[in-house]
Amino acid sequence: MSTRVSSYAVAAVRRDLRRTLLVLVGLVALAVTAISGQSSQADAAAPPDQPIGIVCTYGEGNNPGHPVFNLTTKTGYISLPDGNTAFMWGYSAGHGGFQHPSNVLCVNEGDQVTVILHNTLEEPVSVTFPGQTGVLADGLPTSQEVTAGSATALAPAAAALSGTMTYTFEADHAGTFLYESGTNPDKQVRMGLFGALIVRPTMGADYAYNSADSQFEPSEEFMVLLSEIDPYQHQAVEQGRSFNVNNYKPRYWLINGRGFPDSIADNYASWLPNQPYGALAEIFEFAGTGDRPSMARYLSVGSDNYPFHPHGNNGLVVGRDGHELKNGVGDDLSMEKFDINIGPGQTWDVLFKWYDAEHYSEANPVPVTVPSLANSVIGTFYSGSPYLGGQQSLPTGSEGLNQCGEYYIISHNHALYQITSWGVNMTGPITYMRIDPPGTDHGSCGQ
């Protein structure tokens, strides 16, 4: 991305974050109340204390090797970065309320997985599991469903209003997968009936696949689930009107169900009650031999290619569509990419490292002439020092959200019209890689 665009980016971040900061300050007291209030509800599970990274939902039943997920269709609203809201559908696990996207289901390779779908919507709904084989629905092979001579679903559906359907399959290989509605998908998937399914390999939860070279740092595992919304389709569904899919035109694009800057807020941020999953990739530098890379699981439920682009950082693509990039005899086919061009329904598994290559510091300064303040824009997250772990006072009038001299490097969809929210620039699927200084803790900086 050019410097010119970057300066626009910084300016936009400043505008947006000023607003976010105000909201944030206003909501601190409310947040405390809301969280303590939530825990008193009998059915609502308290959100896990996990501000960043992938929040797994595990199977019920307490029967190792046989996880059971009860997914109930729910409706609700999400907040969008331009202040708009969208009516959505979703699957909610257990007794959870509506959330978007649907729960991240985590299972182990070899598990016999049961997903019981409880439908509450006014039309039939199903679940398909792309990448899984031998899926049974109520004990029978899943097959296309035909209604009145028309193909209507990729899998048998739970009847409208109160139907149930039980899907079972063996999670026979590790990887990142989608689950989504197979019924009238250009309506139902777009309304939000989708989520991520992660199958952990036999070698362990800190491996992407059953290969020693797919090991990653488990505290630095992130989801990048990309989606899109045409607000007119959602409005039509909310009002019970028909929608001509020929007029389908997305106006919002989201990462983990949020637009920027909500995307960098913590998991379970109190002001996003139905959008629990953040997308901030908070890591430490890769310290060399013995250290492990970070892991990003990309998924797309959209209808266009999404060229996702982490700035200043290549990633090693080790898997795609839940298949490790190795050939039939185990040769490595992984590849370095700085643009993850993810197609509809695809998933990509990417290991990444951030190196403090030059070790710049006060004693080893960056060899540039710093432009005058009049020609500079001070980013919201700038620490006042260009050095990792350094902090200095900011010019008068700057706002500083930096905690302890950490770095922030943007990641975004490079189809720039897709990082907008109905025309509002620099929103949409944008997040940051946050590099914490060595010796601190994620999130708190050890403070």
Binding site: S143, S150, A153, G182, N246, D321, N327
Partner: protein, 133 residues
């Protein structure tokens, strides 16, 4: 020309994809993995002879690209001789729809898997293969 695929369980089936449209397309099979063995009429082999073929469920094709894939028809699950039906469809849903009432009407077809030996060999590509006497 029909794009209906008929095969016996256990057979290796070759699918040749070519994107002659002007948009990316994401052909997917629900429930059968495919191995990509050729792309743009070139065998998936590196310069040093390494096999670079890979397995996927989604062929994300740019305009003008072509892909050759092979899948193995899964074990027959049904009863009698009715085929198991797997759907081959464009995951870019509006391109597998064409405004068909309530479902799939565009770039979508069936892969029909019969019990072993039910169908004779194809006579030419894309024929449906006769039922064995």
């Amino acid at each position: 020309m029909s794009s209906r695929v008929r095969c016996n369980a256990g057979e290796k089936v070759a699918l040749r994809f070519a994107n002659l449209g002007f948009k990316e397309t994401a052909m997917s099979i629900a429930g059968i993995p495919m191995r990509v063995v050729g792309r743009d009429a070139t065998h998936m082999t590196g310069r040093d002879g390494h096999d670079t073929s890979y397995v996927t469920e989604t062929i994300n094709m740019s305009p003008g690209e072509s892909y050759d894939v092979i899948f193995e028809a899964p074990a027959y699950q049904g009863g009698g001789t009715d085929p198991d039906i797997y759907v081959l469809y464009n995951r870019q849903y509006e391109r597998s729809n064409n405004l068909a009432g309530g479902g799939f009407g565009g770039a979508a077809t069936h892969i029909e898997v019969y019990p072993p030996g039910h169908l004779l060999e194809q006579v030419h590509p894309n024929d449906w293969a006769e039922v064995a006497p």
